[in-house]
């Protein structure tokens, strides 16, 4: 089973073959507070690394979620807008926001693993 990787913008990425399941990290969830809205992208949307693909909104603030890789949206989690608690689940367990078909797998190398992400969090705040 693939491990979960992380971006500096607090996206969590689970790689299943050539598809990346993307959600947001626990840190991001705590920073945002309870979500009240999530806006999903259209399936088929082409994304470049760093493109905004979703918006998550809490009572405190709204935040964009960015694509960790180049690729194409193959599925959006249609259950999430009606059940926002899903965001807290593990990526593979329903916590994903979109699945992106990866064009360039080498971009995954730039992501952080769990230990590196935890170290990165310590540098914040």
């Amino acid at each position: 089973m693939a491990e979960t990787k992380y971006t500096e913008d607090h996206e969590a990425v689970y790689v299943d073959g050539d598809v990346a399941w993307v959600g947001i990290t626990k840190y991001a969830q705590e920073a945002l507070g309870d979500l009240v809205f999530v806006e999903l992208p259209e399936v088929g949307k082409a994304l470049s690394k760093g493109d905004e693909f979703a918006v998550v909104e809490s009572v405190k603030t709204a935040a964009e979620v960015y694509s960790p890789v180049d690729g194409e949206v193959v599925e959006a989690n249609d259950n999430m807008p009606d059940d926002l608690e899903l965001i807290a689940k593990d990526l593979a367990d329903g916590g994903w926001i979109v699945k992106i078909k990866i064009s360039d797998a080498s971009q995954l190398d730039g992501l952080m693993d769990e230990a590196a992400y935890q170290d990165y969090l310590k540098t914040l705040d």
Binding site: A31, G33, D34, V36, F37, S58, V59, K60, T61, L84, L124, D125
Partner: protein
């Protein structure tokens, strides 16, 4: 019995769960929930035999509340007792100055010569009023060292729009608008800055502020030259100074010079001008156009007491493009200009001449303080904020305190308290419980859990000390309470309504009133 029960509740667990009135606490239902009486406040005869001229069938009872004048009056007065205002107490709302509105200004504004005139009167009959506006323009020009002044924008964001339209018009006149599409803003900007730039057809490029909370030359240069080696695609920059971290942008002169070399204009968000008045003039550090919030800096009422008023001031070069009208003086006669007087103008952005009542109050404030008094106002606002910062920096994390004094706002965060599960929102709710209006929370966005405190110059040391004591008590409670997270999550306890479920309200909003 109800009252007795309520008093028990209040003394035993500080929780006035009374369902009626208790001492000076009033419960009040919606007007729709009142029993509808047969005695409405207005008693009009039924129309007899008048055919409808609109072609619309006559409507039946549409269910409006029927209450008499005293019922309506009491309803709103009782509701008003649930409110908190600057006239109730300390209101440290950083990022939105809430300072005392001197009553002298109100007295002057009620002078019949000001209060009872109409914007459509012949100009020859309102020369005094126009003269007052002219003098206010002169004061603002002097205080900013920016000679073009347009008083008409209705508030801060409207002033931003006027200013950025002015910049856009300047680029249009030079034939450069097609290639100059980008406006730079730091991440500490007021949200209205990027919104205004986009509204005016520009793209926004973000500049990250440094660890120190200010804009660095490195970040600025990187943004300025990111897509063109000469910055020839940059239309301008929008910067708040002092910024929203309460800090003066100390590299601003060099930054403005480079921006001007690249052909961009410098818009300053003047929301925080009250820290600078009489001390430094924005025109001297490279600002091309800025707005001024008369309703903050110059003490005219706002936050329900408004309306606001957001004049803009600009350089000689840009003055030809700013909106009409300004007041011009021909010999001894004052006149509101029209587009014919200044054809290069972006045109009219506001009906008539702007918020004249606020112009009266602002000039009254300036004249009653005088030039030396205004300078003292800025000094005291900065002094008070620094007093709070130094008193609280041990109890709360103060990310920028190490680098020297702040301006008129002190910034702390919930970093220490978060370790006990107590967050900025909980601290704000605890302040409500302890009788204070909270500061601005979760803004600026440069740090997590920010609290921006602006005491203003009008608070006494005694009142600031009481606030400091309460803030220290809250920090202490968060530290020592074994179950701090739950304890704080219950605040406020004694307010007319307890903490609202904002998440449920947003997820499952009830948009229609239904009687039980």
């Amino acid at each position: 019995m109800v009252a007795e029960k309520a008093i028990m509740d209040m003394t035993e667990d500080h929780n006035p769960q009374h369902d009626g009135d208790c001492a000076l606490h009033y419960e009040e239902n919606l007007l729709w929930e009142k029993e509808r009486s047969d005695s409405p406040g207005v008693d009009l005869p039924e129309p007899q035999g008048t055919p409808s001229r609109t072609g619309v069938a006559e409507r039946g009872d549409i269910g409006l509340p029927q209450v008499s004048e005293p019922q309506a009056l009491r309803h709103f007065v009782r509701m008003s007792t649930w409110n908190y205002s600057i006239d109730h107490g300390f209101f440290p709302l950083g990022s939105c100055t809430m300072k005392h509105n001197p009553r002298l200004n109100e007295k002057v504004a009620r002078n019949p010569g000001f209060a009872h005139i109409h914007p459509m009167q012949p100009e020859s009959t309102v020369q005094g009023a126009l003269g007052l506006m002219y003098e206010l323009q002169e004061w603002l020009a002097e205080l900013t060292n920016l000679p073009g002044v347009c008083l008409s924008p209705a508030a801060g964001a409207h002033g931003e729009l006027a200013g950025m339209m002015t910049i856009r018009r300047a680029h249009e006149q030079k034939g450069e608008i097609q290639k100059r599409k980008i406006v730079l803003t730091p991440d500490s900007a007021h949200g209205t800055n990027p919104a205004t730039a986009v509204t005016c057809g520009f793209e926004v490029r973000n500049m990250p502020t440094s660890e120190t909370g200010i804009l660095t030359m490195e970040a600025f240069k990187e943004a300025l030259y990111a897509t063109d080696p000469d910055g020839a695609d940059i239309a301008g920059m929008m910067v708040t100074n002092p910024n929203t971290c309460g800090l003066f942008e100390k590299d601003i002169i060099e930054i403005a010079d480079l921006l001007h070399e690249a052909g961009g204009y410098f818009y300053m968000d003047g929301a925080n001008f009250n820290a600078l008045v009489g001390k430094i003039r924005p025109g001297d550090f490279g600002v091309d156009v800025m707005h001024i919030n008369l309703h903050k800096t110059f003490s005219t009422p706002h936050g329900g007491g408004g309306p606001g008023s957001g004049p803009i001031c600009c350089t000689e070069e840009l003055a030809q493009f700013m909106p009409v009208p300004t007041v011009i003086k021909n010999g001894d006669t004052y006149k509101l200009e029209t587009i014919e007087d200044r054809p290069a103008s972006v045109g009219r952005l506001k009906g008539y001449q702007g918020q004249f009542g606020m112009h009266v109050r602002a000039l009254s404030y300036m004249l009653s303080h005088g030039a030396d008094g205004l300078k003292r106002v800025s000094e005291d606002a900065v002094l008070n904020a620094n007093y709070i910062l130094r008193q609280l920096e041990g109890d709360y994390f103060a990310p920028y305190a190490g680098q020297g004094p702040c301006m008129h706002e002190a910034l702390v965060t919930d970093k220490f308290q978060k370790e006990q599960g107590v967050q900025t929102l909980d601290i704000a709710k605890a302040l409500i419980e302890k009788g204070f209006h909270p500061m601005t929370v979760y803004f600026p966005l440069t740090r997590p859990g920010t609290m921006l405190i602006e005491p203003t110059e009008t608070e006494s040391k005694d009142s600031i000390d009481r606030f400091i004591t309460v803030m220290k008590d809250i920090a202490n409670e968060a530290k020592t309470n074994d179950n701090a997270a739950d304890h704080f999550h219950n605040f406020p306890l004694s307010s007319p309504r307890r903490r609202l479920d904002e998440v449920k309200a947003a997820r499952k909003p009830q948009l229609r009133w239904k009687t039980a």
